[in-house]
Structure formats: structure tokens, C-alpha cells
């Protein structure tokens, strides 16, 4: 195959791939422009030649860059740059390409890929990265051939060998790159902490929650965060946000920040955990209910965390990258707090009489009992994610007409009914799950685990009540049951996150120090001869085992004919005849003096030759037979 054609095809392939990769991240006009120019290029190269003066392309490129400079703002650098690079790539492809043009194309592709790395934070990126290293390596090698002589014709076999053998470069470079990742200096501040400027990825909770909204969150099966911690029985509540104000349709938080309160926690079990949060483009940090302390480590410099009086934690900036934080929580459903209660008794102005009267029925001798009565009553209703009450008077419809709903209906109903009975209450938003990965030892929290529950203020304590029927867990499981394979994939993903997120400047310094001290201690060490001997023995044993295995492998993969030939040479040697390279087996056999031996050798040799020079291939049975015969001679 002609090298020029090969280089072209390969270049277009890689360009097409990078286009597919960034496709979801760029705007329609750029998508279409690239596609159009790309098709023109393909048409030009493979069907009919079109002459496009270079000067036009160069002018277009300059205009593009100026346009990019105008359009870019500090909040969103990546997307315009990526779009511009992509169009530059398509212009470059359109040119008549020489060696340096191809090199520029590969450079552009690399830059686009680097830009893509900012947009994509999932582990799939790693797979793409490896794929691209291999592809680009192959492309440049082809280009090297092309540059040396553009008339080169490669046979299929040569091409195959070039592909398979040149793989050694990326195969060696990947571990080297990983090593560089460990050792290259890194800053305390992420240089590329650029917000990809998308709010479209945003799901989950926001400042206010309307009835029916959580169910749409729950349709999403995306991972929100993973929490590395010990397994605790039952379901775990992850606190995110609280709401005090209900206007009949949605919940809001209206409590001013400056109100301070004193909290006391009952003696209960505490847990320490680490949360690996995916970018939420929001400011909530989720904690195991009820949180005691949160530490963002290095990230606190970028996302200054704020611990609110309602025991929620927010950051100063939206979380646009994967982050991790440590937390300590107390596993309890109540804590003492001296909050002014006025904010937690407000009722929606147009609350229906039906609801008012209905709620009053649950009034009991003390507030705990009242709350329990409400929970018991609500448990009788049906939990459902579909066909939810909508429109006006949703609460009434939920309680008396549809009698079905999801967590926010239950939580809202309870909170409102508590308030009707003069018990201060609020709704807490977060996640509830029992999905624990036993291999990775972490809780996996997805959007579908989104949940609302109620806290009632009784006797100076905030007490958690969850009025949603327990059937919720099963219903949610049916949204998408994680298969074993998916769990395994998630475990790998988790470890990838843990590694990437945990590896910061301080870890690197620690690594330097250990390596440094190891090196200096090697110098100081007075050599412990015994230890070294043991190590040496280990090494020798390991090397022996490895080489024996290699030999066995080689032997096993060799054809039966070859093995017999080797055996034959060995046996001949035993019989006192050294086979020379230029002599046939029969000639060698003739040198054997013992006539009986000679005859038996000759028989085997003829058999073996009939396989080597004939069309048949030797099978195992025949091989064993001949081998036995051969060994039996001497």
C-alpha cells in the first residue's frame, strides 16, 4: 500500500475520532462546520481534486483565532478554545499536506485532546488517552516513513509488523508517563481550574424544591458521590440542604445566616468517612446525617467550606471538578439545638381546610406521639414515582385523591401537619441509600437515591422522621438494578478517583521524602550480609522460575515438527553423531555405526521428514508416538 494513502487514511481516522470525542461539548455551528469541511477534504482526496489556495485557508484560520479571542471570557475558556482548535484542524486537513502539515495536525489533535481532558473527568478518559497514545504513535511512525520517501509501498505484512512491533513505544511510554505524573512538580492551586461553563449537567438539589421535582431527579442514574466508610446497618442518610418555608408548591430556605445556635449531640457512635464528590455545579457538600466536622483538605483553598447552623455545608464556589473531603458524623437521629422556632411554624397561606382538619386528628398527648401518628398514617399511602399529584392544591390531592406520591409529598405532608399541630418542623434534602460496595468499602450514591425527610423540633431537639413508606427502597432498586459487572466497573472507577483525587502536592512531597530518605539510608546502611543473601536467593529463585516458565511456554508453542527435530539432534548426539548444518538427517544417520540403531533412526527420520516436507501437519498422537520411538532407541 502506498505510504501517502496510509498516512492520509490514518490521519483522517484520528481526526474523525477526536471529533466524535468532543462532539457533545461543542456548539452546533462548529459541529456542522467541521463535518462539512471534513467531508470536503475526503471528497477532495478520494474522489475529485479541488484546488483551494492556501492563502484563503490561512486567512480563515487567523479570523477564527481573532474571533475566539473576542468571544472567550474568563468563565468559559475551554469550550471556545476547543471549538476553534477543531475548526483549525479541519482547515489544516483541507490543505495540501506535507510532513510539517501532518505534524501540525497531530499537534492540534493533541491540544484538542488536552482540552477534552478538562471537560471529561470520568475514567473513560483514561481509555481514550491510551487509545490516542497508540494511534498517534502509529501515525507519526507512518509519517516518518512518508517523510523518508513518499513513494514507499508497504506490503500488508510489513505494515502488520510495523504496527505490532512499534507498539513497544507506547507500551513503554505509558508507565513512564505514569511515573512523570508522580514526580512532575504540581502546584497547590489547580492551574486549569476552569469551569467548563455548563449548567446543563446540573441535576440534583437546588435552593428550592417543588413538589414532583425530586422524582425527576430520581430518574437519573448518575453517580453523585461515593463515600468511603465502614458499613453501617440499614440505610444511610446523607444530609445536603434544609428548607423551612413552604408556599403550597415548593420549599425554600429563608432563614438569615446570622442566627447562631448552640448544639449538643447525644452520646452515640461516630463515623469518619471520605466523600468523593462528582462535579455537581452547585455548592452543597453532602454529609452523613448528622455531621460534626467536615474537612476539605487542599480543596478548602478553592472552595471555602461553610458549616451552617442547620448542619448543612456549602462551598464558596460551585463544585466544577471532582473533589474529595473528609467528614466526621454522629450516627443519631436527634440533636439538641436552641434555634428560634418561629421560622419553622409558617404555613402556606392557602392551605385547605381539609388538610387542617385532617392534621388535627393526629394530635396526641405529647409531640413524639403526634409525630408517630402522622408517620403511621402516611405509611398507609402508596409510594410511587409516576402519576403524581400536580396542579393546584397538590397536598390535598396527594392526601385525599391520588393517595400516592414520592418522598417530597410524604415529607411535605408530614412537615405541614406537624406545624398545624404546633410542632416546628423542616424538610431535609439529601440522599438515602444502602448500596454498599463490599470490595471497595464505600457507599455508592446515585441521583435516584435523592430523598427528602422531615425533622421535627421536639423538647429542644431536632428529631428525624422519615414518613416515606419503606417500600421506596425496593421501588428505587427497580429503576436500575446494578449488575455485578457494573458494580465491578464502579469499583475500578472508585479507585481511579481515589488515586487521582488523593494525589496532591503534599502526597508528592511525602513521596519525594520517602524516596530521598530511602536513597540516603542506602548509603548509610552497614550492609547486612544475611539480608542481602536472602534477597539474592529470592531474585535467583524468581528468575529461575520465570525462565523455566518461559522455556516451557516456548516449548509448548513450538510446532510438533520442530520439537521432534530438536529431539532428533539430541538423540543423534547421544549416538555419537553430530549433525552438521549442511547435511540432511539421513546423511547424519548413515554415520551411525551400530546398524540396528541406524535402522531405527532412519525409520523415525523418514517419518519426521514426511511431515516436514509433506502437506500433513503432525498431531499430538503422532508426535507422542515418534517421541517414544526416538527415546527408545538409546
Amino acid at each position: 500500500m502506498n505510504i501517502e494513502k496510509l498516512v492520509k487514511i490514518n490521519t483522517y481516522l484520528v481526526s474523525g475520532l477526536i471529533y466524535v470525542l468532543v462532539f457533545p461539548h461543542i456548539s452546533v455551528i462548529y459541529k456542522l462546520s467541521f463535518l462539512f469541511l471534513f467531508i470536503v477534504t475526503l471528497y477532495r482526496d478520494f474522489f475529485r481534486d479541488l484546488y483551494i489556495p492556501r492563502i484563503f485557508l490561512n486567512i480563515a484560520a487567523v479570523i477564527l483565532i481573532v474571533f475566539m479571542a473576542v468571544r472567550t471570557n474568563i468563565n468559559d475558556i475551554v469550550t471556545p478554545v476547543l471549538e476553534t482548535l477543531l475548526l483549525l484542524l479541519s482547515l489544516k486537513l483541507l490543505e495540501y499536506k506535507k510532513f510539517r502539515d501532518y505534524m501540525q495536525i497531530y499537534l492540534l489533535i493533541t491540544l484538542i485532546f488536552a482540552g477534552y481532558s478538562i471537560l471529561s473527568i470520568s475514567m473513560v478518559f483514561l481509555i481514550y488517552l491510551i487509545l490516542f497514545i497508540f494511534l498517534l504513535n502509529f501515525s507519526i511512525i507512518l509519517l516518518t516513513y512518508y517523510n523518508e520517501d513518499n513513494r514507499v509501498q508497504l506490503t500488508k505484512k510489513q505494515l502488520q509488523t510495523i504496527i505490532t512491533k512499534s507498539v513497544v513505544i507506547p507500551v513503554l511510554s505509558i508507565p513512564l508517563t505514569a511515573l512523570l505524573f508522580l514526580f512532575l512538580p504540581r502546584t497547590n492551586y489547580p492551574l486549569l481550574n476552569i469551569m467548563p461553563g455548563q449548567s446543563k449537567g446540573k441535576t440534583g438539589f437546588s435552593d428550592n424544591v417543588s413538589l414532583g421535582e425530586v422524582s425527576s431527579i430520581q430518574e437519573n442514574n448518575q453517580t453523585v458521590f461515593r463515600v468511603s466508610m465502614e458499613k453501617i446497618g440499614g440505610e444511610v442518610y446523607f444530609r445536603g440542604i434544609t428548607f423551612n418555608m413552604f408556599d403550597g408548591k415548593s420549599w425554600k430556605n429563608t432563614i438569615p445566616e446570622n442566627i447562631k445556635s448552640k448544639k449538643t449531640f447525644p452520646p452515640a457512635k461516630t463515623v469518619s468517612y471520605t466523600v468523593y464528590l462528582e462535579p455537581t455545579y452547585d455548592t452543597y457538600l453532602f454529609t452523613v446525617d448528622v455531621p460534626y466536622r467536615v474537612d476539605l483538605g487542599q480543596n478548602r483553598l478553592n472552595y471555602y467550606p461553610y458549616f451552617h447552623r442547620d448542619l448543612t455545608v456549602t462551598t464558596s464556589l460551585p463544585i466544577t471538578q471532582k473533589i474529595k473531603y473528609d467528614g466526621v458524623s454522629i450516627l443519631t437521629d436527634r440533636y439538641e439545638d436552641d434555634t428560634p422556632v418561629g421560622y419553622f411554624l409558617l404555613l402556606p397561606p392557602d392551605l385547605s381546610k381539609n388538610v387542617l382538619n385532617y392534621a388535627k386528628k393526629f394530635k396526641d398527648s405529647d409531640d413524639y406521639k403526634t409525630a408517630d401518628n402522622i408517620v403511621k398514617e402516611l405509611f398507609k399511602l402508596e409510594y410511587s414515582l409516576a402519576d403524581l399529584p400536580t396542579g393546584e392544591n397538590q397536598l390535598e390531592k396527594f392526601l385525599f385523591v391520588k393517595k400516592r406520591g414520592n418522598c417530597e409529598y410524604f415529607a411535605t405532608a408530614m412537615a405541614v401537619m406537624l406545624r398545624i399541630n404546633n410542632i416546628p418542623s423542616r424538610v431535609v434534602g439529601g440522599y438515602k441509600t444502602s448500596t454498599y460496595n463490599d470490595v471497595g468499602k464505600y457507599y455508592l450514591v446515585k441521583e435516584k437515591d435523592a430523598h427528602l425527610w422531615v425533622e421535627a423540633y421536639i423538647n429542644g431537639k431536632w428529631v428525624r422522621f422519615d414518613p416515606t413508606p419503606p417500600i421506596r427502597t425496593q421501588v428505587i432498586q427497580t429503576i436500575e438494578r446494578p449488575s455485578k459487572l457494573k458494580l465491578l466497573y464502579d469499583t475500578i472507577n472508585y479507585y481511579y478517583n481515589v488515586f487521582i483525587l488523593n494525589y496532591d502536592f503534599s502526597k508528592q512531597m511525602a513521596l519525594y521524602k520517602t524516596v530521598g530518605s530511602k536513597i540516603s539510608s542506602i548509603r548509610k546502611i552497614d550492609i547486612d550480609k544475611q539480608k542481602i543473601t536472602i534477597y539474592l536467593i529470592y531474585i535467583v529463585v524468581i528468575l529461575t522460575v520465570v525462565s523455566v516458565l518461559a522455556l516451557i511456554y516456548r516449548y509448548m508453542t513450538e510446532s510438533y515438527e520442530k520439537r521432534l527435530v530438536r529431539l532428533l539432534i539430541k538423540q543423534l548426539k547421544k549416538a555419537g553423531v553430530e549433525k552438521r548444518d549442511n547435511e540432511g538427517f539421513e546423511e547424519s544417520v548413515m554415520k551411525i555405526e551400530d546398524l540396528y540403531q541406524r535402522d531405527r533412526f532412519l525409520k523415525v527420520v523418514r517419518d519426521v521428514e514426511s511431515y516436514i516436507y509433506g502437506k500433513r501437519k503432525m498431531d499430538k498422537v503422532e508426535f507422542e508416538k515418534l517421541k517414544k520411538e526416538l527415546s527408545g532407541i538409546i
Partner: protein
């Protein structure tokens, strides 16, 4: 970068270059040489290797075990030619650098003078034929007159079939022709006079080659020796002598 350097270096190591010249080589005349590259590395083949021999070069795309390329080569000067090293270079893997290494080869060759067309032979033949004319021998051959007619043997070309005789006798007959012979010519090397030595050597080389390919029996006297140009060994011995003059 480091890796490409390392791979590039490894690429041109562990190989062996062998060069094979044809037995007779003439100055200023293209002749084919065989360049053989053997790769002795275990795992890696040698990619994209350019072998430079004096000012000629050949490109090996891929050498797994052994590859061979034949190319034209020319040596300007007659006499002894010695090639003890060749340069091999490669831009593999990424065209960033060109790396070269010198390998030992062992080629020693005597380059014969460049044959140049001249009319020495014609003159010699003329001078002889004026004296005696063509000499016809009575040995059987393929060019002279018919000396007899005999039964056809299968190995004889058809054109020698004597159709007339065959028609007369009802069995195939063939013509037996006599061999045309020519008078042996002896040239005394020292007595030939030319403008300069090179002219003389070129002309005599041409004459020797031409004579060796025709039926002319040319002997050349050089000092005390006489060389018969039809005998390969003698011819080469003579060319060897004049190549080094």
C-alpha cells in the same frame, strides 16, 4: 522524547551489513551490488534504515531477520577499491532526529579500466584479412560451408535440416557445416601507442571484452606473458594487471 531517542538508537544497533560485488567491475560503469542487512536483535526489527555506501544510498523499510536490496553502483577510478565501513542512518521513530552508526564491511575489489569504444580490433582484423582472408577449417561448426549431410538428430535446430535431402531420402537429414575460424591475433601491449595511458587502457579493455565475446582469437602480449582473451582466468589476470598500472 527520551524513549524515542532510546528506540531510535536501538533501531540501528545489532545489525550486520554485508555487501556483495559482482566478479568483474569496471571503472565509471554502473554495476549492480547486493546490500544485505541482517538484524540480530531478538524482539525488535529494524525500521526504516538507510545504508550509505560512498555516495549511494538504499532504503530498507523493515528488516526483521534479513533483507537484501540490489542497487546500481559506480566507481570512478580503476585500480584497487577498498570499502571497510558503511554508514547506516535512520530517522525512526518520529523523524525528530537522524541517527547514524558506522558498520564494518570488508570489500576489496580491483576495478578494471573503463572500457571505451575504439577501433583497435577492427584495425587488427583488417590488417590480417588483407593478408590471408577468412580461414576456413575442416572442423564441424555452424557457420561455414556444408561439408557433409548426415541423419538428423533430435537436438539439432530445425534450420539445419537439409530439406532437399530429406525429401529425396524420406528420412530427415541435416546439414553439417564447417566452422569458420580466424587467424589468432597477437597484440603487443607495449607497442600500442596512444595519447595517454588511460585511453590506451580503456581501449585495450574494450578490445579484450569484445574479442572474448566474438570468435576472434586475440592474444595479448604483456611483457613476457601472453594472455589468451577467450580464457576467463587469463583474461581476468590481464585486466588485473592493467587495472593497477
Amino acid at each position: 522524547m527520551a524513549l524515542s531517542g532510546f528506540i531510535g538508537r536501538r533501531n540501528i544497533q545489532g545489525i550486520k551489513v554485508e555487501i556483495e560485488f559482482p566478479p568483474e567491475v569496471y571503472a565509471n560503469t554502473d554495476f549492480p551490488i547486493k546490500i544485505k542487512v541482517k538484524n540480530r536483535k531478538k524482539f525488535l526489527p529494524t525500521f526504516l534504515l538507510r545504508v550509505y555506501i560512498e555516495n549511494a544510498s538504499v532504503l530498507f523499510l523493515l528488516v526483521e531477520k534479513e533483507e537484501e536490496i540490489t542497487t546500481n553502483f559506480k566507481i570512478d577510478k580503476r585500480g584497487s577499491f577498498k570499502l571497510d565501513k558503511v554508514n547506516v542512518c535512520s530517522v525512526f521513530p518520529f523523524s525528530f532526529f537522524i541517527r547514524c552508526q558506522t558498520y564494518k564491511v570488508d570489500v576489496e575489489k580491483t576495478v578494471f579500466p573503463q572500457p571505451k569504444r575504439c577501433d583497435l580490433l577492427e584495425k587488427l582484423i583488417d590488417s590480417i584479412s588483407k593478408k590471408k582472408g577468412e580461414k576456413i577449417t575442416d572442423k564441424p561448426g555452424y557457420e561455414g560451408d556444408i561439408i557433409s549431410i548426415k541423419d538428423y538428430t533430435a537436438s539439432t535446430p530445425m534450420k539445419f535440416i537439409h530439406w532437399k535431402a530429406s525429401a529425396k531420402t524420406d528420412s530427415l537429414k541435416e546439414k553439417e557445416l564447417s566452422q569458420t575460424g580466424s587467424t589468432p591475433i597477437i597484440v603487443d601491449f607495449d607497442k600500442l601507442s596512444y595519447k595517454n595511458l588511460e585511453e590506451k587502457l580503456s581501449c585495450i579493455t574494450y578490445t579484450v571484452l569484445k574479442a572474448s565475446n566474438s570468435d576472434i582469437e586475440l592474444y595479448i602480449k604483456y611483457k613476457t606473458d601472453i594472455f589468451y582473451t577467450k580464457d576467463k582466468n587469463q583474461r581476468l589476470r590481464f585486466l588485473n594487471i592493467i587495472a593497477n598500472l
